[in-house]
């Protein structure tokens, strides 16, 4: 597998506050990872943890303030809009709101042909490409004449997928591809993305807060907290034995569709720190059930094994329970 994306120590800062008291906050605070072709990488974390900002930074919609982003060995974070354009056709983005990301005044056929127009591709005939792409995502050619408001959420999502794969990209970044979709449609969209990944050899980044989805689709995953990766590794392994306390709490909190399931939860205080006042030391210490004295002053380095990286002073052993036994049933 060849490496398609190399992210190193990426930071994104935002300026906030009134003019005279302007402060900068770190939306993404030093993120590194690699992605190989044919691989699916999931980024999970709560809203506001920086997932979407990171996605926008990768495809150049958001400037970065430190670090580097390499796409297929090209350094892309320093490129201007003009030199970025030929590379951008090789990476596409699916935004959160399936209907909102389609222009309401264009028909589906035009929406799908738009990428060809934008990138000045003349050797492909839209009247051939549009039906081909529609059938790839499981829609009939008649859909080309519909407007976005005439589509259901699942159909709009499929049109979004058709647009995303129109130019044969090497990388798709899908931001909450199933948010707002019901479980049956959600399955269809994920199956579709997965089939396409296998058939076209795409690399994929999926951003979501649905852990069940991550478990089924992602090869590797990262857990994000306050703009940092706190744990990165093989999805199966992380689900089997999370090593960062936040990951462990997230996985234990995952509600399951069984009213009689015994729930053995790791309770966390619900106070998420503000990005304006990041806690000292380990930034998770204010919510961590395992907190120790050094967590409050020393920033943890990544503890690295072959398949896992954990930013914690004392990574959990498999099946670890919180010391105070604050378990909610």
């Amino acid at each position: 597998m060849s490496r398609i994306l190399e992210i190193r120590d990426v930071e994104v800062t935002f300026e906030v506050g009134p003019l005279m008291r302007r402060r900068s906050i770190l939306g993404v605070a030093g993120v590194s990872f690699d992605l190989h072709s044919g691989e699916t990488f999931a980024i999970v974390g709560e809203s506001g943890s920086g997932k979407t900002t990171l996605a926008c930074a990768i495809n150049g919609l958001q400037g970065i303030s430190a670090g580097s982003i390499r796409f297929d060995e090209h350094r892309i974070d320093t490129l201007g809009a003009r030199s970025m354009k030929p590379l951008r056709r090789r990476m596409s983005m699916m935004f959160q709101d399936p209907v909102g990301s389609l222009s309401p005044r264009m028909k589906v056929g035009n929406l799908i042909a738009e990428p060809f127009r934008i990138h000045g591709i003349v050797d492909k005939n839209p009247s051939v490409e549009v039906p081909r792409l529609l059938s790839l995502v499981g829609l009939t050619p008649e859909f080309a004449d519909r407007y976005p408001h005439q589509l259901s959420g699942g159909q709009a999502r499929r049109v979004g997928v058709a647009r995303a794969i129109a130019l044969d990209p090497d990388l798709i970044i899908a931001d909450e591809p199933t948010a707002g979709l019901d479980v049956s449609v959600q399955g269809e969209v994920l199956n579709l993305l997965n089939d396409l990944r296998e058939r076209l050899g795409l690399a994929m980044i999926i951003i979501t807060h649905n852990l069940h989805v991550v478990h089924h689709v992602a090869d590797r995953m990262a857990v994000m907290y306050l703009g940092r990766f706190v744990e990165v590794g093989d999805t199966d392994e992380i689900f089997r034995a999370p090593r960062h306390p936040y990951t462990a709490a997230l996985l234990s909190a995952n509600p399951e569709p069984d009213p009689d399931k015994a729930r053995d939860r790791i309770a966390l205080p619900a106070e998420v720190p503000s990005l304006l006042a990041r806690p000292a030391g380990c930034e998770f210490h204010s919510r961590c059930p395992w907190v120790a004295a050094r967590c409050m002053s020393e920033v943890p380095e990544f503890v690295q094994s072959e398949t896992r990286k954990v930013a914690c002073h004392t990574p959990l052993e498999p099946g670890a329970r919180p010391p105070e036994l604050e378990v909610t049933q």
Binding site: L181, V183, H216, P255, D258, D260, A270
Partner: protein, 320 residues
């Protein structure tokens, strides 16, 4: 005792392509002190149902038949003034996006004081109650929080402020429309635990709308499964989740990725689409997608009581 009782409710919208039958013969009860979950795909009529209860249907919509009885009054027959009195006082709501429910230019304390405009209390009494309510939803430093504006709270806290406001007047019924969808799993669990605690404290009933089956299983006492504007199955959460009798409810539960114990690359789905609600099929509305279809499905399916409180709108529910 039943707080809310919906009987044979039919709601239609006039659209360019003809009348759209958004709710068809919807019946279910919300008993006192119970949390009733409503599940279904987007477009199945969940929002229409809420709007019909609140008397907030769009101008092109109307209740064609049926009744919505709330504390002895039929809400479909009440005038706007009486509805206005009930909303926010006896029936209150929490929505998915708390920022949309909070006024960005008023402090939280001011908004909470405004909600109590009918109480006849003094300003300081109102503020004391607001503070107590914020403390109850575990907002740290509640007194100082009253002076803050919605944007100064995090997403999870905002939702808790919205819940505090909704429960301020101790309503008989709280309608919660996907209140945890925007939160991560740890905050989602904390929010539903808080909701249950408050519901018991205030002794109100909750109508909880969600398409997250895990949250419904965890929080709700009863479940109503909707499909294409019809209630296809209802019962206690255990009845519906353990022994679903309508094929749609069964398929929906099977499709939840959380139900796949082994890791799979290919998730189950329900093939087909929801029928056009302007041209409802004469028989069962799920028949076109059903894997157990029989000839009798061409006729209007009966509501079959398979057990006490467990009803499925399917001809096959009887035979089994």
């Amino acid at each position: 005792m039943t707080v809310l009782s919906i009987k044979d409710l039919n709601v239609t919208f006039s659209t360019e392509g003809g009348r759209l039958h958004a709710l068809k013969d919807v019946s279910f009860d919300v008993p006192e002190r119970r949390i009733v979950g409503v599940v279904g795909e987007s477009g199945c009529g969940k929002s229409t149902l809420i709007n019909a209860i609140l008397g907030l249907l769009a101008d092109n919509g109307r209740v064609d038949a049926g009744s919505i009885t709330f504390e002895g009054e039929d809400l479909t027959r009440l005038g706007p003034a009486r509805m206005q009195e009930l909303r926010g006082q006896r029936i209150s709501t929490v929505f998915q996006d708390p920022m949309g429910a909070l006024n960005p230019v008023l402090s939280v304390g001011r908004q909470m004081r405004n909600i109590q405009y009918r109480s006849g209390r003094s300003r300081s009494e109102k503020d004391a109650r607001s503070e107590a309510m914020l403390r109850q939803v575990r907002i740290p430093d509640a007194q100082a929080a009253l002076a803050r504006y919605p944007h100064e709270f995090s997403g999870g806290m905002r939702q808790r402020v919205a819940i505090a406001m909704a429960l301020m007047m101790r309503p008989a019924l709280l309608i919660a429309d996907e209140p945890t969808t925007a939160l991560d799993a740890t905050l989602e669990v904390a929010t539903i635990e808080l909701l249950r605690e408050l519901q018991q404290d205030i002794a109100c009933s909750v109508l909880f709308i969600s398409h997250h089956l895990g949250v419904i299983a965890e929080l709700c006492d009863d479940v109503v499964v909707m499909y294409a504007g019809e209630v296809v199955e209802r019962g206690t959460t255990r009845q519906v989740f353990h022994t679903p009798r309508h094929p749609y409810a069964r398929r929906l539960l099977e499709c939840d990725p959380a139900r796949q114990s082994g890791r799979t690359r290919h998730l189950p789905t329900i093939p087909g689409e929801i029928p056009d609600l302007r041209q409802r099929p004469p028989g069962c509305v799920f028949a076109t997608r059903c894997d157990q279809r029989v000839d009798a499905c061409d006729k209007v399916p009966p509501d079959v009581a398979v057990e006490t409180g467990h009803v499925a709108r399917c001809v096959l529910a009887e035979a089994r």
